[in-house]
Amino acid sequence: MATTTKRKALLISSELCIGCRGCQTACKNWNQLPGQKTTNTGTMQNPPDISATTYNIIRFSEVPSQANAVRWLFVSRMCMHCDDAGCMKICSAPGALYKTEQGAVAFNKDKCTGCKLCVAACPFDVPRYDAQNKIGKCDLCSGRIAEGLSPACAKTCPTGAIKFGDRADLIASAKKSGYGKVYGETDLGGLGAIYAFRDAPRIYGMNESPAIPESVIFWHNVLKPLAIIGLGGVVAGALIHYAAIGPHKDEEVK
């Protein structure tokens, strides 16, 4: 996959997040998405998950330990904008999912056929479908970033927990700040949403080894070529047979 020097990313620093959910509101505002009716289940996390009309949420994780009885972690969750994206790999509708110049995985509802294969192929359980059976997810505010603006979530974040910029610069700055490993630096060809964690990513509710499902990779690398070779082989075989041996004849009948 082409990784241009212009590739942009979001750097999420969980330690800086105060859980204000300004990013959720800004996202709804910019993308003109309606609010969702939810019920109080005793957690600050609301809405409970991303949806076709909620492109990002703050995930609240309570991780009490002996040393720290009140440990509360806030992580912004949205589309990870994989370089090698499972959704794009499996999608059967041209133009429904596409990569922007800045490296965002964007979508076009008109081109989406509603087959939902992308849901199964995404390593991060991101794609959602709206009432019209069309995909809805974070597109890294591709309209804004194409014009040199920050995504709405990063623009509004008051603490710098969500930073937007050149991906390489963000990784370098995170490492300079003492983060040994940046989550998403190399997974799936490098994610467009990278995370600086003080602790193991799984504590923050992250998948530690995200990957496109094996069956999708097998289908892409083996079955797709085989579909061409198979048909081509039979057609070529028939042509050669017809030219070299010719039709079967029953002398007694003719």
Partner: protein, 202 residues
């Protein structure tokens, strides 16, 4: 042409045409989905239209496929020593002249295998197709359906063109069965002696 013998009933002929046309439509649109062929999508007014055509052609195909069970399943599951001889000599249909083939019934060994393979792959591709279309909320079902649908697709794109070639250009005189359902009695006696004996025309 002299005396004719009916090999396929009008119902069989009509059903075979329905099966063939829906299958061809599914293969063409299937390739278009597989490789995002926008030119083919344009024929159906875009991929949304093509998806509707693909799904409903799949319904027609499934119904038509199950309708064939009444006509060919029993015969296709009946094998004897002649079938073994037939396999060993490879049927002889791809050679220029008539080799001495063992006597066959209404379907020859190759046709029985073809029927069973298409039936098995047909059930797999139909079930997995409905799995992709109608089941949502299970990642597992979608992924397995996607894999099975594509595996069965490969069998179809190999077997169907081979079947079409064998039934037309490779064996003159065969295609008329799909159109008229009848063949000259001499042809039938030579190709299907066991069946002709059964119906008392040998």
């Amino acid at each position: 042409m002299g005396e004719m013998v009916r090999k396929a009933s009008p119902e069989e002929i009509i059903n075979h045409w329905i099966l063939a046309i829906s299958c061809l439509l599914l293969i063409i649109t299937g390739y278009a989905f597989l490789f995002k062929l926008t030119q083919i999508g344009a024929v159906f007014g875009g991929f949304n239209g093509m998806r509707v055509v693909h799904n409903w052609a799949g319904v027609v195909f499934t119904v038509s496929l199950f309708a064939t069970l009444f006509n060919y399943l029993h015969e296709s599951l009946t094998f004897d020593a002649d079938d073994w001889t037939w396999i060993k000599m490879g049927g002889g249909y791809l050679s220029r002249s008539a080799k001495k083939a063992p006597p066959m019934g209404k379907l020859n060994t190759g046709q029985k295998f073809y029927y069973l393979a298409v039936m098995a792959a047909g059930i797999a591709i139909a079930a997995s197709g409905f799995g992709i279309w109608l089941v949502s909320g299970s990642r597992m079902i979608t992924l397995v359906s996607h894999l099975v649908h594509n595996l069965a697709f490969i069998l179809f794109v190999v077997a169907v063109p081979a079947h079409a070639y064998m039934g037309t250009l490779a064996n003159p005189g065969t295609f008329r069965i799909m159109v008229y359902g009848t063949v000259p009695i001499e042809f039938a006696r030579k190709k299907y002696p066991k069946w002709m004996k059964e119906i008392g025309k040998l």
